[in-house]
Assembly symmetry: C2
Homo-oligomer: 270 residues x 2
């Protein structure tokens, strides 16, 4: 059996966190990726109790950011909550340019300084920060880090406590992908591997990701790169899609598990 983790975002529109945990448990899944705002909806005590009752571990915790003054003000509380939930890593999202700003290199320097500022507390709490480079179409609006190369550069400069998460939707197009995955793996900094697919056409920059197999990404090929780079962790399903959000969460998860088996399973067609 392949090791699959669901990110709650995949079914968040029709399953709250407690329902999501039940759905994972029903499918024999022992690890989840969760969101702070979803914890707030059901209450932290109930969320923690449900996790304990299911004996579940937390892989990724979403999230710190954007790096506005307000967003950074909340970062400490988010890290502390992530620690209470025993998360392996905490996603950070830099956000884009400030209002009226056009100086992308300066925004990048500022984001890197903010990450550096978060590291001591992250290490004290026994956590890791995960930089997830987003697709270049999200630069300026959602992020200033849009390639694995850039994320690797930042990790090298900042040292311990920060790693990368590789999401195929954001990175599949990069001609340096294999080399940068190898570089990240050599440094032991691959914290996660997120799957979904790139649809043709893609109708929306944020919310039109595909189910694995419905698009044009060479998912098995990229998984091979990640495995050759030494990543032994789970495959995390994270699909932001207005289409899939409308469907029954149990059905979405079952389809996703079937696709994962077909694409990543040991017994997949050669």
């Amino acid at each position: 059996m392949i090791d699959v983790v669901f990110n709650h975002a995949t079914v968040r529109n029709r399953a709250d966190m407690l329902q999501f945990l039940d759905l994972c448990a029903e499918r024999g899944l022992g690890t989840v990726s969760i969101w702070g705002n979803e914890i707030e909806k059901v209450g932290e005590a109930r969320a923690l109790e449900a996790l304990r009752a299911h004996g579940m571990r937390v892989s990724g915790y979403n999230r710190i950011g954007p790096f506005t003054p307000e967003g950074l003000g909340k970062a400490r509380a988010e890290l502390e909550r992530a620690a209470r939930f025993g998360a392996d890593h905490v996603f950070l999202f830099t956000g884009g340019l400030a209002k009226g700003e056009r100086d992308l290199p300066r925004a990048r320097d500022r984001a890197e300084a903010a990450i550096a500022g978060l590291l001591p507390m992250t290490l004290d709490l026994g956590l890791k920060l995960a930089i997830e480079p987003l697709h270049p179409m999200l630069v300026g609006d959602r992020t200033v880090i849009a390639s694995l190369g850039h994320a690797n550069d930042i990790c090298e400069r900042l040292g311990e406590g920060v790693g990368v998460v590789i999401d195929v939707h954001h990175l599949w197009w990069d001609e340096h992908l294999e080399a940068e995955i190898a570089r990240a793996g050599k440094a032991g900094r691959i914290l996660g591997f997120h799957v979904n697919d790139w649809l043709i056409p893609t109708r929306h920059l944020l919310t039109d990701r595909g189910m694995m197999g419905d698009g044009i990404i060479d998912l098995a090929g990229i998984e091979g790169m990640v495995r050759r780079a030494g990543f032994a962790g789970p495959i995390e399903v994270e699909i932001f899609s207005e289409d899939w959000w409308q469907r029954d969460p149990a059905e979405v998860m079952d389809i996703a598990l079937d696709r994962c088996k077909a694409i990543f399973g040991r017994d997949r067609a050669a």
Copy 2:
């Protein structure tokens, strides 16, 4: 006065090629970028006659591609027509993956081989091929070349007769942009500089580009990179936008010229 060229695509929905040439002439513009399919709509003889009557030169000719068997079959005729119009350079667009294909590296190798195959005829005709790296959100569908670094690599391998066009919309996000522009300039291979803007939000992957100044790209900063890299050619306005296509072509061009003066003019605010 700054040297501005309009790409016909900017006003193509409401101005045919003859009207477009008149609009350029009325604004004292002596160079244009044109499209083969627009020539066909008005007839080649009339298009050539209008160009001669206005004493206009052709900068870019659109286009060769996609590199399907059918698209490549038309390439020879497109190059010959570009030569009859005295174009400085001919844009090539590789197209994306073949139907059902997921092997992006193989598609990239195939595209490069196709470009190599077009070069002898291009040189014989006294033309240059222009690789315009497109935004990564267009990979798989419209192109397989999505960074200036990749385009520079291809140019280095193929040698004489092929260069790059830098479109801010496609490349502004790249953390290596300045270095790759410098690399292209050092090799004398910058054939064009296209301006428009990146809107927040961007509502469509293809047809929601902004008017210069309406978005978040540091246009003056990127022009500075291009000039420092030695490019002395014109600033080409190319805006694919359902919004601007609906407006009066003369008004669109006047607004664009005003914006170019404000952003790129010698007397712009420091």
